[in-house]
């Protein structure tokens, strides 16, 4: 009843528009031909995009840092997270509830503390600012989400199917890879996509862990805004928006699992 009230509906629509506005403003500015931040360009131009692809520091931050980093940490997070999920769902472990909450710590733990703590730790070991440290940080923030998604997916698969496969002659590993894995695919893919997005859009960890040659794209956008750069910032931001939105859409196609924190 209340849910159908026009007043509530209008409120929701206004808020949705306000949420989209800053992102649309960024997209608008990226197509403007001048060096000013004009929001509705009357003569759209791709000038700032050619500028983006002409600058090696931007291209490098996207193709040599952000994308490989997100792929690698998503792969690692998916592997670690899936192993944990299997143990949590398929094995009777003592203190399971405690373990589960321990495994979720990186979600509640603010990522800037994780970044700062890792930086100070690696600085003491004299290995701060390398690509490896970034991969470690991003794998840590991605894994809990994979555990959530895969645990949910695995709970929906009847263990009897696995047992049947084992009775018919598969060993445990074969039963997992040939029988369970195909059914688990959508959870695995959406878990991996979320881990990818978390790494790709992270700034709190990378602001501490990246060195001079490992600036991620969001980090480069950040420093360019601070130095009062030109609308190339808008073009870079739009590329960030396009990559992330298409991945969210892809994840939505693969699973109806909602991202519940």
């Amino acid at each position: 009843m209340m849910a159908r009230s026009a007043f509530l509906k209008a409120f929701v629509y206004i808020i949705m528009a306000l949420i989209l506005m800053p992102l649309l403003v960024v997209v608008g500015v990226s197509f403007n031909p001048t060096a000013r931040f004009i929001i509705v360009p009357l003569e759209p131009s791709l000038h700032w995009y050619s500028e983006f692809f002409g600058r090696s520091e931007y291209v490098g931050s996207l193709f040599l840092v952000s994308l490989p980093l997100a792929c690698l940490s998503a792969a690692l997070a998916t592997t670690l997270g899936t192993l944990v999920a299997i143990a949590l769902v398929r094995f009777n472990i003592r203190g399971r509830a405690y373990l589960e909450s321990i495994f979720m710590i990186p979600i509640l733990f603010p990522s800037i503390l994780l970044g700062a703590a890792l930086y100070l730790f690696f600085a003491r070991l004299e290995m701060a600012g390398t690509f490896v440290t970034l991969v470690i940080g991003h794998t840590l923030i991605g894994t809990p989400f994979v555990i959530r998604v895969v645990t949910a997916g695995l709970s929906g698969i009847n263990p009897a199917i696995e047992e049947a496969a084992i009775n018919l002659g598969y060993n445990r590993l074969q039963a997992f890879f040939k029988v369970v894995m195909p059914m688990l695919r959508s959870s695995l893919v959406s878990g991996a996509i979320f881990a990818f997005i978390l790494s790709f859009s992270d700034i709190n960890v990378s602001i501490f862990l990246s060195g001079p040659h490992t600036n991620t794209l969001p980090l480069h956008i950040f420093s360019d805004i601070q130095w009062q750069g030109d609308p190339t910032i808008a073009a870079a931001s739009t590329i960030q928006i396009v990559v992330v939105t298409s991945l969210i859409l892809l994840a939505q196609r693969f699973s109806r699992a909602r991202l519940v924190f």
């Binding site: 509530l8 949705m16 603010p110 700062a116 100070l120 969001p218 931001s237 924190f261």
Partner: protein
């Protein structure tokens, strides 16, 4: 060795080595003495903690809590109607709404902050709009606490709406219908049915919003200017620019303490909610 240990082991080890060890390192550093030459010496001291109580850093800590509380408050204010609507709407509007809602959080706080700079700046969209309405707008809210709160609410909203929705979806529509049939006004239904029964979601939403809000760096650095600096900015500057790692560590411990306080408050609130529910039934 049991198989489950092999499965859990790698992640558990990663948590110990890359989370527990770095944190104990921070705790240890926070008691070391700062030295301009070697960054720290192992002489134990409480000086780093004393420094937090100097007026400048006390002000920053208070401001951090204030900004976090304000952002959480506005998330509750906007989040409740949104969560109610989305827990009662069609599948189609739900998926479109969720998509829009999580976008700012997923795309990166930097991009959202840049959008707000363009909107709130002196020659930005907002001032232009006010000018066409003949309202004189010479100042702007960019580089103030208000701007930080606005940008925070923008990307924290899903962290409030999703837990709220999770608990609102469990409230049966029949309950509302029954109340309406018995003559309850919408306001009464909200106060006596919706809010009490969605308490668990509210508590976890507030906890999430507050913890993320008090630990931002980028949003306050870009939109807060000099007058909007928060603990995160100080930690970053002390680590990267000033190289005063012992003091940075004590600031980080302050942040952890704030989060632990918020967490315990949330646990108490959740438990109290359970007790009253038990008494009623």
């Amino acid at each position: 060795m049991p198989a489950s240990l092999w499965l859990i082991g790698p992640y558990f080890l990663a948590l110990v080595v890359f989370l527990a060890l770095p944190l104990s390192n921070v705790l240890q550093l926070s008691f070391y003495t700062y030295s301009p030459i070697t960054i720290w010496t192992t002489d134990l001291t409480l000086q780093n903690y004393h420094k937090i109580f100097t007026p400048y850093f006390a002000k920053i800590t208070l401001r951090t809590v204030r900004i976090g509380a304000l952002a959480t408050f506005f998330c509750v204010l906007l989040g409740y109607p949104l969560a109610y609507y989305f827990s009662r709407c069609s599948k189609r509007s739900l998926s479109v709404g969720m998509f829009i809602l999580v976008m700012p959080l997923m795309v990166s706080a930097v991009v959202g902050a840049f959008g707000w700079i363009v909107i709130l700046g002196r020659n930005g969209l907002l001032n232009g709009l006010l000018k066409t309405l003949n309202i004189d707008a010479d100042s702007s809210i960019l580089y103030t606490e208000t701007a930080v709160v606005v940008a925070l609410v923008h990307f924290l909203l899903p962290l409030m709406v999703l837990p709220l929705m999770a608990s609102m979806e469990k409230i049966s529509m029949r309950l509302e219908e029954a109340a309406t049939n018995l003559g309850a006004s919408p306001l009464f239904i909200i106060r006596r049915i919706i809010i009490p029964l969605s308490r668990a979601g509210l508590v976890s939403g507030c906890l999430l919003c507050f913890t993320v809000a008090i630990s931002v760096v980028v949003t306050s650095a870009l939109l807060g200017g000099r007058s909007g600096r928060m603990l995160g900015n100080e930690i970053y500057d002390q680590v990267i620019t000033a190289y005063d790692w012992p003091f940075a560590s004590s600031l980080a411990i302050v942040l952890v303490t704030l989060i632990v306080i918020a967490l315990s408050a949330a646990l108490v609130a959740a438990r109290r909610g359970n007790r009253t529910k038990g008494m009623r039934s």
